[in-house]
Every structure is written in C-alpha cells, then in structure tokens.
C-alpha cells in the first residue's frame, strides 16, 4: 500500500547507530528546511536580498581588513588631500577632512549593523514578552499593556525618537535608545494579535487538557508559532531601523564623528553638494542597497514562512 507521495523511509534495523537515529528523527525538519530553501531559491528577488544581506554581513565582518585606509574611520585627518575627486587612489573620493570615503562607507556597515541589531533586539526584548503577556493573560493586563502601546503608537516613531533625543542629547547610543523605545510597540501588536489567535486554536486547548502549565503553553506552544512573523518583521525592521537611524544621523542628532555612520556622513556631505557630489552619493547608495537587501530578504521570508502563502504553494 503506497502512502501519499512523501518519500518512503528506509527500514531501520534496531541496531542503527545514534547517527541514523538522529537523522531519522530530524528528517522532517530537514525536509522542511529544504523546501524553504527551494521556495526561496525560486524567487530571484529574495535571492538578491539574500546576497545583499550576506555581503553586508561579510563586509561588516572583514571590513577593517579590506579597506585601504582603516585609520580614516577612527580619526585620522589629512587636510592636504581634502575633497579629492574619485580616482584610482580614492575610489569614492575623499571628504572634507581628506579621509577616504570608500573606507568610511565600507566601515559604516559595522555601525549600521550594530545599530540595526541592537534596536531590533531591544525592541523584541521589550515587545515580545509584553505582547505574549497581554495576549495570553488578557483582561485588564491586556488592556493596560495595549493602551500603553497605543500611546507610543499614537505618534510617528521618528517624532518620538526626536523628542527622546532632544532630552537625552544627540549621539549614537542615545539614538539607539530612542529608536528602541519607539520600535517595541510594533512587536507588542504583532505578538499580541498572534497570541490571541493562537489562543483560539484547539491545539492550545489540547495542551491545556493534557495538563500543560502556563509556562509550557507560552514557551513551547505560543512562542514557537510566533517566530515566523517575528522573523519576517525583524528582517524588515532591520532595514527600517538602519534607515531611521540614518535619518536621525542626517538631522544631526544621531551618530557623531568620527564614527563613519552613513546618515551623518550625508548630513555633512550635504554642505558639499553639488560640486563634491561623491561625498553624498556613496553613503546614500550604501544605505539604499543595505535596506533594499533587508527588505527583499524580509519579503522572501514572508513568502516562505507565512503559513498562508505557504499553503498557497503547497496545495
């Protein structure tokens, strides 16, 4: 009798070693991963996103070893070669202090990576527990959490971030704090909504009826089912938070010199437009490409992780 088309397993003798056993147990998981990869690879845009993000991480990792003038990102100045046009010596030209723009743009990946990771982690760290609590406990706890969330959602993030920075003072740390503080409500909303709908699913009820406790339900049933939307959102937000931080840098309240942050570079480069166009052009392109990468990746993730669209492919 042949079952569905799911590949048949080789019959395992009981003598099979730990390794075969392990492989057998995780076969489904790997099949799932393989399918995800397959779906992912079918979408050229997602692949581009993957490549861009991969390159971004790689550059952030090895940046200091591949740039021609690493000291230019940490404070060296060469007044005699300021504002040199792009050429063989300085691929992207130099800036107003004679520093190599290429070096600074490349090393800017580290700053952006740091910004993005910290903001997203902080926002998730605040938002996910609150969201699960609100959704799972319900009642006045839910009301309180959601009303506070509403307060933060009542104004556009950038404005609130600006207000917070106005108080804390400019600087990269402060702008990361500010952006984290405005970023978490999105996660509360997402996770709370997801938790509410998961709570209605009968597998939660089933777990309850076999005697699972609260912690077990939250950590083993609800949380794992929230991960897909969280991953999708996080990868989108990674780009968006880099963009927002660059915006703050541009206004002049974000990253401070000599940190090679792209937004801050553009903010200064702005004074040198249009004659010294390269100074503003390249950091802007860097932001664009990075954010684009994360957005495409997020899109790709959505396509493969979102059970709804997944269902569409599967049926």
């Amino acid at each position: 009798m042949k079952q569905k088309s799911i590949p048949m397993y080789a019959e395992h003798a009981n003598t099979s070693g730990f390794w075969t056993q392990w492989k057998e147990e995780h076969e489904s998981f790997f099949r799932d991963v393989r399918l995800s990869f397959y779906l992912f690879s079918r979408s050229p845009l997602s692949l581009i996103g993957m490549v861009l993000v991969g390159a971004f991480f790689l550059i952030a990792l090895i940046g200091p070893w591949i740039v021609p003038y690493p000291e230019d990102a940490t404070g060296a100045v060469h007044m005699s070669q300021k504002l040199t046009a792009p050429g063989s010596q300085f691929w992207f030209g130099t800036d107003e202090m004679g520093r190599d723009v290429f070096t600074r743009v490349i090393l800017g990946t580290r700053v952006s990576l740091k910004i993005g990771l910290i903001i997203i982690c902080a926002a998730m760290g605040i938002g996910v527990p609150l969201g699960i609590t609100a959704g799972y406990v319900g009642g006045w706890v839910n009301e309180t959490i959601m009303r506070i969330t509403d307060i933060f959602l009542a104004i556009p993030g950038l404005i609130l971030a600006l207000a917070i920075i106005g108080a804390l003072g400019p600087g990269i740390t402060n702008s990361m704090i500010a952006l984290s503080l405005v970023w978490w409500p999105g996660y509360v909303r997402l996770v709370q909504g997801k938790t509410l709908s998961l709570k209605e699913e009968s597998f939660i009820e089933a777990a309850l009826s076999v005697g699972a406790g609260r912690a077990r339900i939250i950590f083993l049933h609800i949380l794992p089912n929230c991960t897909s939307p969280i991953i999708v959102k996080a990868s989108m937000d990674m780009g968006m938070s880099i963009l927002a931080a660059a915006g703050l840098g541009f206004i002049g309240v974000g990253a401070q010199p000599p940190a090679p942050e792209w937004g801050a570079m553009i903010s200064i480069a702005r004074n040198y437009l249009p004659n010294w166009w390269w100074y503003a052009l390249f950091p802007g392109l860097a932001i664009f490409v990075t954010v684009l990468g994360f957005n495409l990746l997020g899109d790709g993730f959505r396509d493969i992780l979102d059970p709804q669209s997944r269902g569409y492919y599967r049926e």
């Binding site: 007044m79 300021k82 202090m97 002049g252 702005r270 004074n271």
Partner: protein, 504 residues
C-alpha cells in the same frame, strides 16, 4: 536672476541662516536680531569701519567726567520715530530704563554700573548718565542700546510687561527701515523710510530688503549663484572660494573679532595640570585651523583678538605646533605615553567645531591621548560648563567681544565669568583678576593699557585654553550691490543695510 524689482522698487534679498525671533531691543540680541534692530532703530552712537570706531549718531557730541562716572550726551534735533513722533531725551531715558528693568538681552552690559535713577533728562535734547562706579568702556557699549518710542511701546503694555509681548515683533523705532512683512521661520521684509531723519546719502539706496532664512550653507551658495539672493552670509569655506570666482559676484573677506579657542578645564581632571594643557597647546596643529577655513582665517597671537582695542601681539610666545615640546610637557606631567581619554565638547551642528574636533583626535593621538567628541546642544553645553565638576576637559568656544574695549575679553578670565559660556575654563589666577578689576575703572586709556599688557602675558603663560584663530567674516554679493563697509564690531553675519545702494 538679478535684483528683484517690485513695483519699481529695489528690494534686496539677504540670505541668512539664523532667524530673528524677537526684535525687541530690550529683550534680545544676537546677530540676526541685531541686524534687523540696526535697520529699525537708532542708537546714540554707532560702530563703523575697521578697525572699528564709534561715531556720533543720535548723539551729536558727548562728554565724560574725568573719573568716567558722569556722561552727558547731546542729541540731534531732527530725529523722529517712524510714526512721526520726535525723538527726545525722554525717549532715551525710557529706553535705557526699560532695558534695565526688564533685565533681558543687553541689560548685562550696564546692569552693574547703571541704575534707572542715574539717568537724567537735562533738557529735551540733552541726557546725562551718572554711573555707580567709574566705567571707562561706557561709550563703547552704547551702540547696542537702541532708542524706542515710549508712546508706542506703552500703548501695547499688557499686565505690566512694558510692552514685551508686543515688541517681540513690534516696530517702535526711528531707523532707516521699517517693518513690512513678517513670516517667522521664513522671511522678514523691511522697507526703507523715505524721509529718514538722517536722509539717504545715495539716490540709488535700496527701497527695502528681505531677510530670508536659508538654513543650509550649501543652499545659500546656490541662492547667490542663481541670483535668488543678493547678499549671503556664512557660506562654507569651500563654497566661498568657488563663489568668489563666479562672474557677477564679489565677496568680502576680512578678519573678524570672533576668536575660536578650545577651553580646557583648569580645575579638574588631567587638564588641571598646566603641563598637560601646555602639551595640548603644543600638539595642536594650528595650520589645520587655517586649512579648515581654506585660508580665510588668521591665527590668534594673544589671548585678546587681533584688531580689538588693547590687543598686543605676543607672536614669539604664542603656542605653535611643536611635538617635541609637547612630549616634554607630557613627560613632565608624568604621562610620557599618554594613555588617557579627554572629552571634547562642541555645539551640535557647528561644522567648524566638528572639524576642529577631528583635528584634535588626530593631533592628540600622537601624544597617546584619546579624544571623545561629544556634541551637545548649546544650552546643555553651557549647563555642563557652568560647574567645575561637570565642565568638560575641552570645550570648543567661539567668543565675540561685544564692544570694542579690552575689558570685554579680560573680564572673560575673571572669576565672575566662571559658569558663563566663555568661563568654562574656570581660569584661576587671582592676580589676573585683580589687575582686571583695577584696569576697568581707570579713565585714561594709556594708563589702562599697561595693565592689559600684563594680563595678556599672564594668561598666555597659564595656557588655560588652546588659543585658536579668528576667522574671516565672509559675505558674497551680487556685483550691483554697493556701499558695503566692513566693521568687525558686528557679531557674525550682520551687515548695516543703511549705506547699501544699487549700481548696475
């Protein structure tokens, strides 16, 4: 592309980066405000020319008692306010009293030496000030005290505020221009008073001007280039060189009195040690200051700005980059290899101060000192600098002497200035303080000068700060704008629009 002519009138556009939120002469002054005040109001005296001198304006002549305590001014007889009221000694008395009572804006200049009781109207056109104590620089202060029309001001008084609320945007002046269109945050338009009491020297004088806010230096440049503005201030040094070469544009480029220095905390931390301070002074690359301004700056050669009355050149003693010496001082201080970090605080958004910081990072790095750049908003920076404990190791300060007298600068090093923005070094040398106090009450200038020579030498020796440079005041003009006369005794971007005329 060229001058804006509207209804046959010559309207000039002045592109500026700083708004003028409050033009009440008793409440507020900074350069943009002062520029509008200069147009709307008259003062007893006026600064012109370079080096600056005080010329009679509303006052035709004046005399001081030998001890510099009693000052008598004789007014012109034909001066009248914009509404036609004659400008009399009563108005002068009112104006001085108002500023002193409100205690805002320029009040500080005279608060210590003059009380309302000391102002006496001798007759309609004579007024006498009796000071609490001798104060030699008195006359140099007066160009900043504008005369307002008491009737207009008091007509708008509300809850005993002496018309403060109204005067923010109000015009109670007698000056060559009057208020026309006020769009806060965008532009202010003024129109010439056709029958100005002093008359107009040139028949081609302008019929009005628009003070247009253009916040970005690069936009300023574009504006003058495209002819959207006729005069702009504050273009970046790089752009300035480009603009200077453009057809149809000429520039003015003269040293101002504003000094840039990096004040070090003399009371706390590493910089308490004079050796460290000297090491920093020797390590600093002064040439880069000039380079930052593309050559449009001069280095200070004394604690007092070049061009200020009482300045002497200490060319041989002033610190210049000398790494050898710097290292020696580091050794003396006990840090031959550095190994510590200093904070450099500067005003958020001030391009030049930022660049100096980058230069500092580079220079002090050679001594093994790390520099952390901390941009702060102006009030936060002042707040930090106001106490010895919180005052940063290094703080970037542009300081402009408000009137042409050595006391202005000398007093910045006095204990009474601690906590003010120019006193963030918390300079501590009681001897200098004593000399300053003695010098300001002497009437005879040559006598005073001896003190100031000593003061300058002593301050330099103590190295309380990195003595930097004086940058040039830079304006770009369309070539049909004529009549501009440079006077360093104006703050930063302001020019006197009265003598400006148009010639094609």
């Amino acid at each position: 592309q060229t001058l804006e002519i509207r209804d046959g009138k010559k309207i000039l556009v002045y592109g500026a980066r700083q708004p003028a939120p409050n033009i009440d002469p008793s409440q507020y002054y900074d350069w943009s405000t002062r520029m509008l005040q200069q147009s709307l109001y008259d003062a007893l005296l006026k600064y012109v020319d370079s080096p600056p001198k005080v010329i009679p304006w509303l006052a035709t002549n004046w005399e001081a008692s030998p001890d510099a305590k009693v000052w008598t001014f004789h007014l012109v007889k034909n001066a009248k306010f914009h509404n036609g009221d004659p400008l009399t000694a009563e108005a002068v008395k009112f104006s001085f009293e108002r500023t002193l009572k409100i205690k805002k804006g320029p009040a500080w200049m005279l608060l210590d030496v003059l009380t309302p009781e000391g102002i006496k109207v001798v007759d309609d056109y004579t007024i006498q000030f009796t000071l609490n104590q001798p104060y030699a620089p008195f006359e140099t202060v007066l160009p900043w005290w504008y005369i307002m029309n008491p009737k207009v001001v008091m007509a708008h008084e509300k809850d005993g505020d002496m018309g403060q609320e109204w005067m923010k945007d109000g015009d109670a002046g007698s000056g060559p221009f009057k208020k026309k269109r006020w769009e806060h945050g965008v532009l202010y338009e003024l129109e010439a008073v056709a029958d100005y009491w002093r008359g107009w020297e040139n028949p081609n004088h302008i019929d009005g001007y628009i003070f247009k806010l253009i916040r970005e230096a690069s936009s300023q440049r574009i504006a003058i280039q495209k002819g959207e503005c006729d005069i702009v201030e504050g273009i970046s040094p790089e752009d300035f060189d480009l603009v200077a070469k453009m057809p149809g544009i000429y520039v003015s480029n003269d040293p101002g009195l504003t000094t840039f220095g990096i004040k070090m905390n003399n009371q706390k931390g590493y910089t308490k040690d004079i050796n460290i301070r000297k090491a920093i002074c020797y390590a600093f690359d002064y040439d880069s200051l000039i380079k930052i301004y593309n050559g449009n700056a001069i280095l200070e050669d004394s604690p007092f700005p070049i061009g200020l009355k009482g300045h002497i050149s200490l060319k041989d003693k002033i610190y210049r980059q000398d790494l050898q010496k710097a290292k020696e001082y580091m050794e003396k201080a006990g840090y031959p290899n550095g190994g510590f970090e200093l904070e450099y605080v500067y005003v958020q958004g001030l391009e030049e101060e930022r660049k100096m910081g980058l230069v500092l990072i580079d220079n002090l790095g050679k001594l093994g000192i790390k520099v952390k750049m901390v941009p702060l908003t102006w009030p936060n920076m002042v707040a930090r600098g106001s106490k010895v404990d919180t005052s940063p190791d290094m703080i970037a300060i542009f300081a402009t002497p408000v009137f042409n007298d050595p006391d202005v600068v000398a007093y910045q090093y006095h204990k009474n200035s601690w906590g003010k923005y120019y006193g963030t070094a918390h300079y501590n040398n009681p001897e200098v303080w004593k000399l300053t106090e003695q010098a300001r009450v002497i009437a005879d200038f040559d006598e005073r000068m001896k003190y100031y020579e000593q003061i300058q030498n002593m301050i330099l020796e103590d190295a309380p700060e990195v003595f930097g440079m004086q940058y040039n005041r830079r304006w770009a003009f369309r070539d049909y704008v004529k009549g501009f006369v440079f006077c360093p005794m104006r703050f930063t971007g302001e020019i006197d629009m009265y003598p400006i005329y148009i010639q094609k």
